[in-house]
């Protein structure tokens, strides 16, 4: 009897320990788990005019979530904002180059693709990009090209290249983007070099060419450049495909055109990312999934005149946009074009030559 009691007590003791351990483990585990409940509001930021009309409102109506949208026209702005307040935004859109930067700065959250089943709608060519293998922290949004918005009342040829920016006839009527990589890219391309050149000689050469411009006047932001063309202050402006095409669409009476330079150009892909300390990560993922719906994605791309990374959306896209070679450039142009990649330590050379353009 005595022995039995001891045995019983011992077993009970062990049993209690085991139960406590298991309970403890699950309690701790749950602390780390994401709470899969939708928030009541979502704080997002995107480039200016980078959502088609109604896209956000429809999301708000369907999910009963209030969406707060901030806009920017310079990626450095959003980078600084995110760095100083990691939880400020739940969702932002940045180019591949910036995805790379933000990953290095550990500013991005790992996206749970299980919450984004529509990810499979993304075209295979856009999945698993070099700047973000396996789309750990970014989901492709729209893609486009950098090119030239021209006013054919003043410009001569039909085939225009970067080289023509330096045409004596267009002096003072040319606008380039006030973006180090874009402007240098244009110059490098005009010389037949890569936009990602790390060669000091090539970089200096390209910068010297840019010296022919009055930086303060000619290097402007995206909206300013397009505006100047509209108001005839400028005749050629370096710009992004969708912005130019939308402008042309809205001004059918003007003799405007978007040209992809014959030397080839920059192809960029914009991506949806979630800052690391976002307060409503799960809701942001649901929002991304919504944006990847074929009809929604098609609406976005079509209205904004940007090319879609979403293959499933193609059947819903506006045919005019889908068939426009300025939105979806032909193979021969794509072959001559490049994406921006980080340039390593030669970044300091770029910095130096670029700054020299502004300080005489």
């Amino acid at each position: 009897m005595k022995k039995q009691t001891i045995y019983l007590l011992f077993t009970l003791f062990i049993g209690v320990i085991v139960v406590a351990a298991v309970l403890g483990y699950y309690l701790l585990k749950n602390d780390k788990n994401d709470k899969h409940t939708l928030a009541t509001e979502l704080n997002i930021a995107n480039w200016e005019d980078y959502f088609a009309e109604g896209v956000i409102e429809d999301f708000e109506a369907e999910y009963g979530i209030s969406v707060n949208l901030d806009t920017y026209n310079d990626e450095e702005v959003i980078l600084s904002l995110v760095q100083s307040d990691l939880g400020k935004y739940d969702f932002i859109v940045v180019s591949g180059l910036f995805v790379d930067k933000m990953k290095k700065l550990k500013l991005l959250a790992e996206i749970d693709l299980e919450n984004i089943p529509n990810y499979s709608n993304i075209g295979a060519g856009f999945q698993n990009p070099s700047y973000d293998p396996n789309n750990q922290s970014s989901i492709p949004y729209l893609w486009g090209t950098t090119g030239l918005l021209v006013n054919n009342d003043y410009t001569k040829e039909n085939e225009i290249g970067w080289q023509d920016l330096w045409d004596k006839e267009y002096v003072n009527h040319v606008r380039l983007l006030n973006d180090q990589r874009e402007a240098m890219g244009a110059s490098l391309k005009s010389l037949g070099h890569s936009i990602n050149s790390e060669d000091k000689k090539q970089i200096t050469e390209a910068a010297n060419k840019l010296k022919e411009f009055n930086a303060k006047e000619s290097f402007v932001d995206l909206d300013q450049g397009n505006d100047d063309v509209l108001t005839d202050k400028a005749w050629i402006a370096q710009t992004y495909s969708g912005d130019a095409l939308e402008l042309i669409d809205e001004n059918p009476d003007r003799n405007l055109d978007y040209i992809i330079p014959e030397e080839g150009t920059v192809i960029w892909v914009d991506n949806m990312v979630i800052p690391r300390d976002a307060k409503n990560k799960y809701t942001a993922e649901i929002f991304i999934n919504y944006l990847l719906r074929p009809e929604v994605s098609a609406k976005n791309a079509s209205e904004l005149w940007y090319a879609n990374t979403n293959q499933a959306a193609e059947e819903y896209m506006d045919q005019e946009v889908l068939n426009d070679p300025k939105v979806y450039p032909p193979k021969k142009i794509i072959e001559k074009s490049e994406k921006f990649t980080p340039i390593g330590e030669s970044q300091t050379i770029y910095n130096e030559v670029w700054e020299e353009l502004f300080v005489q």
């Binding site: 005595k2 602390d31 310079d74 450095e76 702005v77 980078l79 600084s80 100083s84 307040d85 990691l86 930067k101 290095k104 700065l105 550990k106 500013l107 303060k216 690391r276 300390d277 980080p342 340039i343 390593g344 330590e345 970044q347 300091t348 050379i349 910095n351 130096e352 700054e355 502004f358 300080v359």
Partner: protein
């Protein structure tokens, strides 16, 4: 059944005594070890916090002296003069860098956010997007938080100060860039990295310095963050299965008002406890020794109790079987021998009683036999008379019959 009972008592007594011996020994051993640990951990914790405080002061002094240097440098005439050319400014910057080699870059930036001259041009961001730059434009000398240069990857702290011309207007901004490794070198100590290390975290709880570069920019682990909400203090946490003691302090000097950094000094608990490990071992050894002694004596005592009881059992059994002369032999000179004595007295009485009883029974039996004989005799006489009476009656009856017959 017999066997079981014997074992049970032995164990009961042995266990009881061992328990009474064990509990105090265990309690005192646990308490001693507990106290020793607590003392050493408390001492260590407080010292870790003091170390954190000391390092914080060193960093603050370093930052302050760089702040002052930057202001000083901005006062150079070459910078202030509107006639200086770009090259002259650059030359001056290079000269200054030889006097102050701790800076990994020096730049002069104009009010439009463009670099007039710089030694390395390694800052990539847009100056006008930074609050500390804008504040410098307004006349303040500012310290940025931690800035990252991606290529080559390193982190810096930037000091920005206005360059004022003779008309008291801000002409440009002087930027000095201090690598955070310099900050680190100032508080490094020659303590074994394996046992103690320090980390810095910014106001966003992101690690801005860590001996392991992989941890840079990660968020402070929850186990560290949740216990460091005050201005300073110490706590214990488990990271990667290792128990760590942590002392921390917050940078809350008004001067660095924007930079709400926290500095943490970690030390492995196992290393700290090593100091008292030999003490702990001795306590445990002594306790085990004491336990063994308690157990041995406990069981021996058990035996001691057992013998007289066994003896009494045997005696009782034998007497029960009828061996009334059997006596218990207990010479322990204690209550048991007393009990045995009383038992024996009782046995004696029983024996005597028994003997007396036998005698009396014998006597009675004799008397009874005599009486029985007498009774038999008188009984025989009575029976004879009875028989005679019956015979007489029969004769009378037959005579009666005869007389009756004759009358007729």
């Amino acid at each position: 059944m017999k066997e079981k009972t014997r074992l049970s008592l032995k164990i009961k007594l042995g266990l009881a005594i061992t328990l009474v011996g064990i509990i105090p020994i265990i309690i005192s051993a646990t308490v001693s070890i507990g106290l020793a640990r607590k003392t050493i951990l408390d001492t260590k914790n407080e010292s870790l916090q003091s170390i954190a405080e000391a390092k914080k002061s060193i960093i603050e002094s370093l930052l302050y002296s760089n702040y002052v240097n930057t202001k000083l440098i901005a006062g150079k005439s070459t910078f202030e003069s509107p006639d200086s050319s770009k090259d002259e400014i650059k030359e001056e910057l290079v000269k200054i860098n030889t006097i102050y080699p701790e800076y990994d870059d020096l730049s002069v930036v104009n009010l439009d956010g463009h670099v007039i001259a710089s030694i390395n041009y390694d800052y990539e961001g847009k100056w006008l997007e930074k609050d500390w730059f804008l504040e410098a434009k307004e006349g303040k000398t500012t310290i940025s938080g931690v800035q990252t240069i991606l290529d080559p990857f390193h982190t810096v702290i930037i000091f920005a100060t206005p360059i004022i011309d003779e008309n008291d207007k801000t002409r440009a901004i002087l930027i000095t860039q201090l690598p955070i490794d310099r900050v680190w070198a100032s508080i490094e100590e020659n303590v074994d990295r394996n046992s103690r290390f320090t980390i810095l975290a910014d106001e966003n709880k992101r690690i801005i310095y860590h001996p392991s570069s992989e941890e840079l920019f990660n968020t402070l682990p929850q186990g560290v963050n949740q216990y460091s909400q005050n201005k300073g203090g110490f706590f214990q946490t488990v990271q990667n299965g290792e128990s760590l003691l942590v002392g921390y302090e917050t940078f809350d000097d008004e001067f660095f008002s924007e930079m709400n950094w926290k500095i943490f000094v970690f030390e492995k608990e196992s290393v700290v406890l090593k100091a008292i490990s030999s003490l702990e071992l001795s306590i445990i050894a002594a306790s085990i020794g004491a336990l063994i002694i308690a157990a041995v004596f406990g069981f021996r005592l058990g035996f001691q109790f057992l013998k007289p009881i066994k003896e009494l059992k045997t005696a009782a059994r034998n007497i029960g079987k009828g061996k009334l002369s059997f006596r218990a032999n207990v010479k322990t000179h204690d209550e048991f021998s007393e009990l045995a004595k009383i038992f024996n007295e009782m046995a004696e009485k029983i024996e005597n009683l028994s003997k007396n009883l036998e005698k009396k029974v014998k006597q009675k039996t004799k008397e009874l036999e005599e009486k029985n004989r007498v009774l038999k005799k008188s009984n025989a006489v009575m029976v004879g008379r009875e028989l005679k009476m019956i015979k007489l009656k029969e004769e009378i009856d037959s005579l009666k019959q005869e007389s009756k017959g004759k009358r007729e």
